[in-house]
């Protein structure tokens, strides 16, 4: 129910260590900034609200609807959280949701948690925020304007998150760039419609019952000019870069070249010590056999330890 093969949650092992660390640093910086802003702007009332709404987003991700042929659409929630609570609180909420999914449900890895927080938190929330704000400014405050802006924010947040995931996989050498980007973009263009429809549905519901929630959530940007610039650059960069990379062969080569550079940069760290340094274990087959024997000994040791403990405790 919580898992899907083309999910956004990258498991451990699929991103190179360098990429994982870079995205950890970016996510920690973003979440740190969000914690500061929330502490300053929103006060102590927000702690229970954010906790409960993070749980609500988590539970909301279980709600799905049948699309066709056994597939179903469901919610990621970055857009609705951003619309209701503003970008900073939404970033914290998405961080908590993604972190709990990784820590407890293994939906996404731990070492790549930084990247997953970046994708679904930073990218998802930033894209939703700017799309929704811009469209609301253009379209006005009627019901249809709220719904249309919500749909666009949700669809774009899914699409751009998927593209960033594809780029990360490609840079890590875990998926060929000329397949990963069109595949992720294509599938999530459809999945994004599901996200958009659910977001629209819940906005329609909230518009009818508690309009104040939607109005407060879309109050003028609490962020400074810098955030606008960074956000626009981020969204613009991804938007320009990814179609370029997927449609234009030159773009493909460009990313592949970057990829090659990254590999070159990573390789020397393993070449510091020449091939045959471990005396007597220069042979690959021998090393494998040795590893097998040592591994078996470790497992046997653990088994004996358990048997010993059991016998002792039953003897008591």
């Amino acid at each position: 129910m919580l898992l899907s093969p083309f999910g956004m949650h990258i498991p451990d092992g699929f991103l190179s260590t360098a990429v994982s660390v870079i995205f950890w640093i970016m996510s920690v910086a973003a979440v740190g900034l969000a914690l500061q802003r929330v502490n300053k702007d929103l006060g102590e009332r927000q702690v229970p609200l954010m906790g409960v709404l993070a749980a609500a987003i988590f539970a909301g991700q279980m709600l799905n609807f049948a699309v066709a042929g056994g597939t179903s659409g469901h919610l990621m929630g970055a857009a609705i959280a951003t619309i209701l609570l503003g970008p900073w609180a939404a970033l914290l909420i998405m961080t908590c949701v993604v972190a709990i999914q990784a820590l407890i449900f293994q939906d996404g890895g731990l070492l790549v948690l930084g990247a997953n927080i970046f994708n679904m938190g930073v990218v998802g929330v930033t894209v939703s925020y700017f799309t929704y704000q811009t469209l609301r400014r253009i379209l006005g405050t009627q019901r249809w304007a709220v719904l249309a802006a919500g749909f666009a924010a949700a669809w774009l947040s899914i699409e751009l998150t998927a593209l960033v995931v594809a780029l990360q996989l490609a840079i890590s050498g875990s998926a060929p760039v000329n397949l990963a980007i069109p595949a992720m973009a294509g599938i999530h263009a459809v999945i994004g419609i599901g996200e958009g429809l659910i977001t629209m549905g819940s906005l329609a519901f909230l518009y009818a019952t508690r309009r104040d929630l939607i109005e407060t959530g879309s109050a003028p940007a609490p962020a400074g000019r810098l955030v606008w610039v960074v956000g626009l650059l981020l969204a613009g960069g991804i938007a320009v870069l990814s179609p370029l990379a997927s449609a234009n062969p030159d773009g493909l080569e460009w990313v592949a070249e970057q990829n090659g550079f990254l590999k070159l940069a990573q390789n020397p760290s393993y070449n510091l010590i020449p091939d045959y340094v471990l005396p007597g274990v220069s042979n690959e087959a021998l090393a494998t056999i040795l590893a097998g024997v040592i591994g078996a000994l470790i497992v046997a040791g653990a088994a004996f330890g358990i048997a010993y403990l059991r016998r002792r405790s039953s003897g008591d």
Binding site: G60, N64, A66, L179
Partner: protein
């Protein structure tokens, strides 16, 4: 403690259960880091890492099937790496008839390595969540200097996660009862696609609304119990001697494996 089908914690008194959650969190993350740093095609190191994670499963006394079964659930993502089989240039192993795609030895090596690394990592993470309760993990996060506000949101989220998941399940059961959705896979569903999406949206909306209202009540309740915006917590207990030894031994073994990565290369 919550008893809920979602909570992966398995009660027990094995050596691994008794180990401090701080040590478990650190060692799990270190293990996954070492696995990630292991180069492509380093099969001997994979064997050792796999042996370590199996040994830890034995020490947790969960039964070997438990973690293996759960880890299979996380595997579908491997599909996204499958194109590597054909896209990595190298010595041809076989050519797909009709399509002309070439399966290369290097591509196969890369794909298998990624899948195995991912599988080993996920087992370690499953083991941690099965042997440490979430409140203990929260304490471990605090020890690792995760900001207090974030830990506070985590703990409130955990507290109400099961409540809201129950509400979501009730909403879904109500929809099922009113034939908005078929309970059978591929069964007939009511309404048009847009209508179904709107229904799901309305359900999500009412879930959020209940969340808002619940948060208000919680806040009032917290105020009446002396909440003033400051998140307070007990000081962390010191690590026992056994925990320190486990940390040192675990760290040492992982360090050795990291060293082996360089040597075997």
């Amino acid at each position: 403690m919550h008893v809920h089908f979602l909570d992966p914690y398995q009660d027990g008194s094995s050596p691994l259960h008794r180990l401090d959650a701080r040590v478990k969190l650190l060692l799990t993350v270190a293990f996954i880091l070492v696995t990630a740093l292991t180069p492509i095609g380093a099969w001997p190191v994979y064997i050792l890492l796999f042996a370590l994670v199996i040994a830890a499963q034995l020490l947790a006394e969960l039964g070997l099937g438990y973690v293996l079964k759960r880890s299979a659930l996380a595997l579908p993502f491997v599909l996204s790496a499958a194109p590597l089989l054909f896209s990595v240039a190298g010595d041809a192993l076989l050519t797909l008839p009709g399509l002309g795609w070439v399966l290369s030895v290097q591509g196969l090596e890369r794909f298998l390595s990624l899948s195995i690394k991912s599988w080993i990592s996920v087992q370690a993470a499953i083991l941690m969540s099965a042997t440490a309760t979430f409140p203990d993990l929260l304490q471990a996060m605090r020890a690792l200097r995760v900001p207090r506000l974030l830990v506070a949101i985590f703990s409130l989220m955990w507290r109400y996660l099961f409540v809201l998941v129950d509400e979501a399940l009730r909403l879904m059961r109500a929809r099922l009862a009113r034939s908005g959705e078929s309970g059978l896979a591929g069964g007939k569903t009511g309404g048009s696609l847009i209508w179904r999406a709107q229904t799901a949206g309305g359900m999500a909306g009412s879930l959020f609304l209940r969340g808002f209202e619940r948060a208000d009540r919680i806040y009032t309740a917290m105020l009446s119990r002396g909440y003033d915006g400051e998140v307070r917590s007990f000081p962390l207990p010191p690590l026992s001697a056994a925990d320190r030894i486990a940390l040192a031994v675990g760290g040492g073994v992982l360090g050795l494996i990291l060293l082996l990565n360089f040597l075997i290369r």
